[in-house]
């Protein structure tokens, strides 16, 4: 009982996400408008939110350093998108070369802002507010106010196609499920091997029944997810990209020394500095990295919209920041996880998608999202207070 309680407390947002999914599913079915978990719609939700997940991952690192946010990301995306448009649509440059150039441009923009923040000492809020205006302007200048479209198929296929590319529904479903099963098997093997290693070295491990329950739950979720995707077109390529980003950063924050330093910096900057950590370097890294992930998100976005517009990325910073805070990151820094931010991003995505299917007015959607953001954080703050008392 105690365990269940602590599990519930530790995973409030995950539970909230499940509740929201069930709620919308019920509402949508009741309204006779199909299903939230229809294979095609699940695929849609992924395509719609892939960029939010990528951005939220980067934003989390910034927030960890002390509740600092990056307001410029929407504009940086527009600038990188404009560069991509110029190079591919206008100049017909090689796709791989373009991707590399765009990633470099994003990283460079991030590094400029990061330098201002970490080494000159401009407060992040102001440095990135300036960036927000600056890079939006640059994007408009590059595009001369025009929209560049369409992108060639040899670019789009890396972002908008599906795997495995086949038209035979039975074969598609089978392969999708087999791939999922392989992923599950690898995952289980990895966990069991890790456990065996720990036992050998004499470290404490979680109990076997707990481990089995956890493994079965996670595998079941993966299989259901694969089944839904397999009934549509298979795995969207962008899902693979997003998964790689999420896994890499989750590992970085959990298991590496620089990742640990980020948390320490947000928890107590002075103590961290006095422990021999180059805190300025960490700050520089967090914001440079944000620029890099903006570039990744920009490449995804231009492919999804099949165009580069001056207004690309407008308001994305708020989605990313919202996702982090809904996902349990502290507004003072030092706490928050990549997993939490992903849940936060999906939460916002499901909310958007569900309300759209229900045909709720777009203006009301905004109001509801704003309300949910504040409510989620308030809930988190209050529940943490109770734990302390």
């Amino acid at each position: 009982m105690q365990r269940i309680k602590s599990f519930l407390k530790g995973n409030t947002m995950l539970i909230a996400l499940i509740v929201v999914i069930i709620l919308f599913q019920a509402l949508i079915i009741a309204a006779g408008k199909g299903s939230l978990l229809k294979p095609q719609n699940v695929s849609n939700i992924i395509a719609q939110n892939s960029y939010v997940v990528i951005l939220a991952t980067g934003m989390l690192l910034c927030i960890l350093t002390g509740g600092n946010i990056d307001l410029s990301i929407g504009s940086v995306i527009a600038t990188v998108g404009a560069v991509a448009g110029m190079l591919i649509v206008e100049m017909h440059m090689n796709v791989y070369l373009t991707i590399i150039i765009c990633l470099l441009v994003g990283t460079f923009i991030g590094a400029i802002q990061a330098y201002c923040i970490a080494y000159i000492g401009i407060p992040p809020f102001i440095a990135t507010l300036g960036g927000m205006l600056l890079w939006r302007g640059v994007a408009q200048v590059i595009l001369n106010g025009m929209t560049l479209a369409p992108y060639p198929d040899n670019y789009l296929k890396y972002f908008t196609s599906f795997l495995p590319g086949t038209d035979d529904p039975a074969f598609l479903l089978t392969t999708t499920l087999i791939i999922a099963a392989v992923i599950c098997a690898v995952y289980v093997a990895f966990e069991l091997q890790g456990r065996a290693k720990k036992i050998k070295k004499g470290y404490s491990v979680e109990s076997m029944p707990m481990l089995i329950t956890r493994l079965i739950t996670i595998c079941a979720v993966i299989m259901v997810f694969a089944y839904l995707l397999g009934n549509y077109k298979g795995y969207p390529v962008v899902l693979i990209l997003v998964s790689l980003v999420v896994l890499a950063y989750a590992y970085f924050t959990r298991n590496t020394v620089p990742g640990r330093y980020l948390y320490a910096l947000g928890g107590n900057a002075k103590a961290t500095r006095l422990s021999g950590v180059d805190t300025k370097k960490m700050m520089f890294f967090a914001y440079t990295n944000m620029g890099f992930l903006c570039a990744v998100a920009a490449l995804v976005c231009v492919a999804r919209f099949n165009s580069s517009a001056p207004s690309l990325g407008d308001g994305y910073e708020l989605d990313a920041i919202g996702a982090c805070f809904i996902g349990g990151a502290s507004a003072y820094g030092g706490t928050g996880t990549v997993g939490g931010s992903v849940i936060g991003a999906i939460f916002m995505g499901v909310l958007n998608n569900g309300m759209s299917i229900l045909g709720i007015d777009a203006n009301w959607q905004k109001a509801v999202k704003g309300f949910v953001l504040v409510a989620a954080v308030a809930f988190d703050v209050i529940s943490k207070k109770k734990v302390k008392a």
Binding site: K198, K201, Y203, S204, N255, T256, V257, P258, R260, Y261, Y263, A264, G267, N268, K270, A271, T272, R273, L274, S275, G276, V277, D278, S330, G334, T335
Partner: protein
């Protein structure tokens, strides 16, 4: 016989793990200047915070009787209504507001939604005149010197119809001339019937100005000396302040002292903001293998600044001088370099500068030397946990598990986590800044035992402490620091509290005389 204005009876105040005040009594008569003296941590400021309502009624035991009535202050506002005003050591003025705005902050003239600025500035000018400050009340606080700011604080108190003025070290940051002015002003105000309580370390000022002197020691009232009845020269006061025996509160150790491990020569450090001010002035000191060296001195004497500037230049500007570790001249330009040179600095402010409170014990434990539990920057979490547990056992830290967040531990256990963090960094030389501040006697003893174990292992330990007994009880050698300079060195067995205290006081007087001459 003047009537009794204030009587504090049997005041007891406990903080988690420490008894800060233990049945303290204080009687203040109307129209007198009453001085409160005692070593750092004797409980002077705590007592005044109780009186002014900063620690509200209910958080302490005992009674405050003011003008014959029992008072139960819930906050500062309550005590100010009765005319009790406290001026803290760190002045509470807003730099970018004018003198007048500061003076009536929270006590605005006019109506709540319509401040009467004409009245404000007129009243402010009158009060400035009373305290003898020739400045326009339109001047911003940041533009006047600290001595004048102190006068503004007093004028502010007068603006609140103060009956009983409490001053916490009012002259600590003033030069001789400003201090003298301030003391004369207090005497002047006394003639007009103002009663004041003054906390001070400067005993010459106290014997000049005070009518009565109450001495606190370890949270207890020791005695009250009355001018005219008792002999109140400085030696007498010092004796009252320190007059306790060093009993077996300090574990014994066999000193096996070796070669010099660290030596600082002509170490000079300037203040990072006020680039003219020397914080450490030509300091020379050293520590040897297996030795505990104590650095004594008043607060603000530059001890912490000395330690931090040595520790990878983490404090100060324009640092000059030479540093030798094991005979080799080194220059440590970052904390990382200092740690790699096997140096550790354990901060006096464990919550502010030392620990990440919202983080679990094991993460705090490894922060200063992540290399030991990681491989190519990949953390071995299991090893990290195991090591943390090991240190927990070794230092006898009381906690349910090392996964516990540090903020939930008591002060003594937090201090142990901080110590273990730096022991984990494998230093040969450890500088411990106020290692037992704010922790109870039992935990102190354990910390002393840990220190003894460290030197037995051949490490060198430097203890910075405001508690003289601690310095005397633990050190093989003692340096005394004053106003950024090393003024004396003693053998640990030869020194006594009286010798050190009077050494500091003598230096105090000497400097004041020099200033007076200039």
């Amino acid at each position: 016989m003047a009537k009794t204005m204030l009587e504090m009876m049997n005041i007891t105040k406990t903080f988690p793990g420490v008894k800060a005040l233990d049945n303290v009594n204080l009687v203040v008569k109307e129209g007198e200047i009453h001085a409160l003296v005692g070593e750092n941590g004797a409980g002077k400021s705590t007592l005044m915070n109780v009186l002014s309502g900063i620690y509200p009624y209910g958080s302490y035991d005992g009674d405050i009787i003011y003008n014959g009535e029992v008072c139960r202050f819930k906050n500062i506002k309550d005590s100010e209504l009765l005319g009790i005003v406290i001026i803290h050591q760190e002045l509470a003025l807003v730099p970018y507001l004018t003198i007048a705005e500061n003076m009536f902050l929270g006590n605005e003239r006019g109506k709540k939604y319509a401040i009467d600025w004409d009245e404000t500035y007129k009243k402010a000018d009158e009060l400035l005149h009373t305290v003898g400050l020739q400045e326009s009340s339109h001047t911003q606080i940041k533009d006047i010197a600290v001595g004048k700011q102190q006068l503004v604080e007093i004028a502010k108190a007068l603006g609140k119809n103060v009956k009983l003025l409490i001053l916490d070290e009012p002259t600590a940051s003033l030069n001789e001339k400003d201090s003298r002015n301030l003391l004369e002003l207090l005497l002047e105000l006394k003639k007009n019937g103002l009663t004041s309580i003054m906390i001070s370390h400067k005993l010459n000022e106290i014997s000049y100005i005070a009518d009565k002197i109450t001495i606190l020691r370890d949270g207890c009232t020791i005695e009250t000396l009355v001018k005219g009845e008792d002999n109140i020269n400085e030696d007498r006061i010092v004796k009252g302040m320190v007059g306790r025996e060093i009993s077996d509160r300090y574990p014994k150790r066999e000193s096996k002292i070796g070669e010099v491990t660290m030596e600082a020569c002509n170490w000079t450090v300037y203040h990072p903001l006020y680039s003219e001010r020397k914080v450490c002035d030509n300091v020379n000191f050293n520590v040897r293998k297996g030795e505990v060296v104590g650095i004594s001195g008043l607060m603000g004497s530059g001890r912490t600044e000395l330690a931090m500037s040595i520790f990878g230049k983490s404090y100060g500007a324009k640092i000059s001088g030479e540093l030798f570790i094991n005979g080799q001249k080194v220059s440590l330009n970052s904390v990382k370099q200092a740690i790699n040179a096997k140096l550790a600095y354990v901060t006096e402010d464990r919550k502010g500068d030392g620990l990440i409170l919202s983080s679990p014990i094991y993460k705090n434990n490894s922060l200063a030397r992540m290399e030991k539990i990681s491989n190519h920057s990949i953390i071995d979490k299991d090893k990290e946990l195991l090591v943390a547990k090991e240190y927990k056992e070794k230092l006898n830290t009381k906690c349910p598990s090392v996964l516990q967040n540090v903020e939930n531990l008591s002060g003594g256990n937090q201090q142990k986590v901080l110590l273990s963090k730096w022991m984990f960094a494998d230093p040969d030389i450890m500088i411990l800044d106020e290692p037992t501040r704010g922790i109870d006697v039992g935990a102190k003893y354990e910390i002393y035992c840990i220190i003894n174990r460290l030197v037995a292992e051949g490490k060198s330990v430097v203890i910075i402490s405001s508690e003289l007994t601690e310095i005397l009880g633990m050190s093989d050698r003692i340096f005394v620091m004053h106003e950024g300079r090393m003024i004396a060195e003693f053998d640990g067995h030869e020194a006594s509290q009286e010798v050190i205290m009077s050494c500091i006081m003598r230096e105090n007087n000497k400097m004041e005389n020099e200033n007076a001459k200039n």
